[in-house]
Symmetry: C2
Subunit: 411 residues, 2 copies
């Protein structure tokens, strides 16, 4: 069960019909590809399955990729890490051209036990390809070597430079559909390949996403549209906080931050639009950012996320510590219930201050609900883009820096 | 060397003298304790040294604490992790009453090799004390047991409930000075005890902080005051981005977020003040949040942080990959130089868009510079508090949620 409760009121206006028509049209047009990833998945899973039977016993899957090529995979892997079986490969990430980080990751793995997945939609991401070269030297394995295709595979656009390279040197390529942007690509090969190889139940993940799509497009409720309207009100909040209760959501928050910032931060003629995403972890950040939400400027909306039934729990022991008795809890409180009750109490105090608030409750943190949650935020992002009248699927602003860099350092 | 360059102009006004006088007065008043922590450190280090000789061989220091009791320690530990010697204890954190996170940490450590540091300024932090109770049951060790004081120690206010508890059951207590708030406490026992026990060069850390204090109060430059003025301009940016280039700064960013949000997010009569802190990691977040900075609303300032000479480096191999030649780099580029050049190129593109920007360059990421950096941001926070006319050292907004919770779950 996935529930989203809005603690604010958006009256039913003709605008809601208009938005509904727009997103239905976009959905039916096939111009934007992510909508259909839950269906496309079947063929992909088959492809992975066939390929897997041919590969050796792998202990480490190393995703070499950044941004949309890593954040979604990381989000799902971390959210479901508590379900991981010990005999499945571990997932590692090489995202940053940071020598300390690269060394830390590479020194812990052996080439023979590892598969490096070069994930780059364009196939020419500077950081990714530079890290790939470092890996080649580090393990002394190069294109043209007989074993090269055993250790490397590519996830990229069909026909990209990386795909051509892969074909030339006998690497398996998995394809991200052309009409799926990087930050909407977690349910494509970009996420499904590494996650499947690491034993994540990607069938259930895609099922959850499909359920979200079906629920939404069957128009079971207008909650998401109302939420998108609240997010985009001009008088409203330009900072959107995700307050996720449990450490398992840390990487999900980072995925949301990219999705929200990069999709909605755009120039629209002379106007500049966009909202600042902030990811918080409860209960920890009650001791950090919360003070600003409660007493600071009214420029934020807050979405609380919590898990009703955590996969693992333990009682808070009914022990009384001398002198510290004043924070003794009632008998029978568990850690998970204390975490949930902290979410609820904090949410009440935030609502009391008149902050625009809503709450997402997952009955479980499993693959199905992870898929539902991801698709839900992708839909929300699309809705906001349509309401704002911008293209949520490009990122024109980040090209200048790349040009400045290549002008200086390129050959 | 620590340099901070402002890429914007704040003319010299009488206001600068006024702020200067205010912070000098606060510094000399001894009401706010963190200013003097670099000096207080000496006695503390002696105390730790004497105590250490009496404790057994410890593999794991486990900080049980949240917010100001963990974030600063984490920030320094992560920033200096690349210097860590293998024979020093590992540092772990139990911050969240999240059963999955608690289990994950506890299952990897053995009681006999561990010391649990209960860090709570008030001594009655619900999460911290609840986790302490879980540890007691998990390892079957309780107050009154002969060995109890061997496995637990306290870092708290002198005379707090936790301190009384510690005295009753033979636990060593280290004290956070009364006039030092949690989020300004990293250079007090809260941070210095665990960091010293884990082999961090806390002498150098405090020396770096002292150097920052001396440089500032000798008024070698007005850079910090000008920066504080830029941050607090009413017409200005209400979102302050820290764009830190290297994974080693991830936890430092989180420390900054607490410091900034909790110190400056305040009610001032009817008015609500405060700025939203955002922590980014370069080059990774060039593929995420950067688009919003470049094309989105002009409501942000950005501080770039980078390390001129990283402790470890590796060349980006001068290999040409067929079909991907267009991103080949000049010969001799290293990973660290590519990271730095990305910071510089991105900064240029941000400045080009007219965003208020400044740059902090550390010549090295060592204990001295970590101390300098921390003290620098503490001073900046104090300056902003003084300019805004608020109390940067309390957190009145977060009490209501705690009350709602204890009303429901308390005994």
């Amino acid at each position: 069960m996935f529930t989203n409760t809005l603690y604010f009121d958006i009256p039913h206006t003709p605008k809601i019909e208009e938005i509904w028509n727009k997103i239905s049209a976009e959905y039916n047009s096939s111009v934007i590809g992510y909508y259909n990833l839950p269906i496309d998945g079947e063929k992909l899973l088959l492809d992975i399955g066939v390929w897997k039977t041919g590969v050796r016993n792998i202990q480490n899957i190393v995703v070499v990729g950044v941004g949309g090529s890593s954040l979604g995979t990381k989000a799902v892997y971390s959210m479901l890490f508590h379900e991981k079986k010990t005999d499945t490969p571990n997932l590692h990430f090489l995202e940053n051209i940071d020598p300390i980080a690269i060394k830390k990751t590479l020194q812990d793995i052996k080439l023979d036990e590892s598969l490096f997945l070069l994930v780059s939609k364009s196939g020419t991401t500077l950081d990714t390809i530079s890290i790939a070269k470092i890996i080649m030297v580090y393990f002394n394995i190069f294109p043209g070597d007989k074993q090269f295709g055993k250790y490397f595979a590519a996830v990229t656009d069909n026909g990209s430079a990386l795909n051509k390279f892969a074909n030339e040197y006998g690497l398996k390529s998995f394809f991200i559909p052309k009409n799926v942007g990087g930050r909407f690509s977690v349910l494509s090969a970009a996420g499904i390949v590494p996650l499947t190889l690491c034993g994540v139940d990607t069938v259930k993940l895609l099922e959850g996403a499909a359920a979200c799509r079906d629920d939404f497009f069957a128009r079971k409720s207008d909650t998401l549209i109302k939420k998108a309207l609240a997010c985009t009100l001009k008088s409203g909040q330009n900072i959107n906080v995700l307050f996720s209760y449990s450490d398992i959501f840390r990487d999900f928050n980072a995925w949301f931050v990219q999705l929200w910032a990069e999709s909605l931060g755009k120039k629209k003629g002379e106007e500049r639009v966009g909202f600042t995403p902030v990811g918080l972890i409860g209960a920890i950040d009650q001791h950090s950012f919360l003070q600003l939400i409660i007493d600071g400027p009214k420029d934020k909306s807050v979405t609380f996320i919590r898990v009703e039934n955590m996969a693992y729990d333990m009682p808070v022991p009914d022990i009384s510590l001398k002198y510290i008795e004043k924070i003794n809890l009632k008998k029978g409180i568990s850690a998970a219930s204390l975490l949930n009750e902290q979410a609820i109490a904090t949410m009440k105090s935030v609502i009391n201050e008149g902050v625009i608030t809503d709450e997402i409750v997952l009955s479980k943190a499993d693959a199905y609900h992870a898929g539902y949650l991801i698709y839900y935020f992708e839909l929300l992002t699309s809705l906001c883009g349509l309401i704002l009248g911008i293209n949520a699927y490009n990122q024109p602003g980040v090209e200048i820096g790349k040009k400045i860099l290549l002008d200086k350092l390129g050959k």
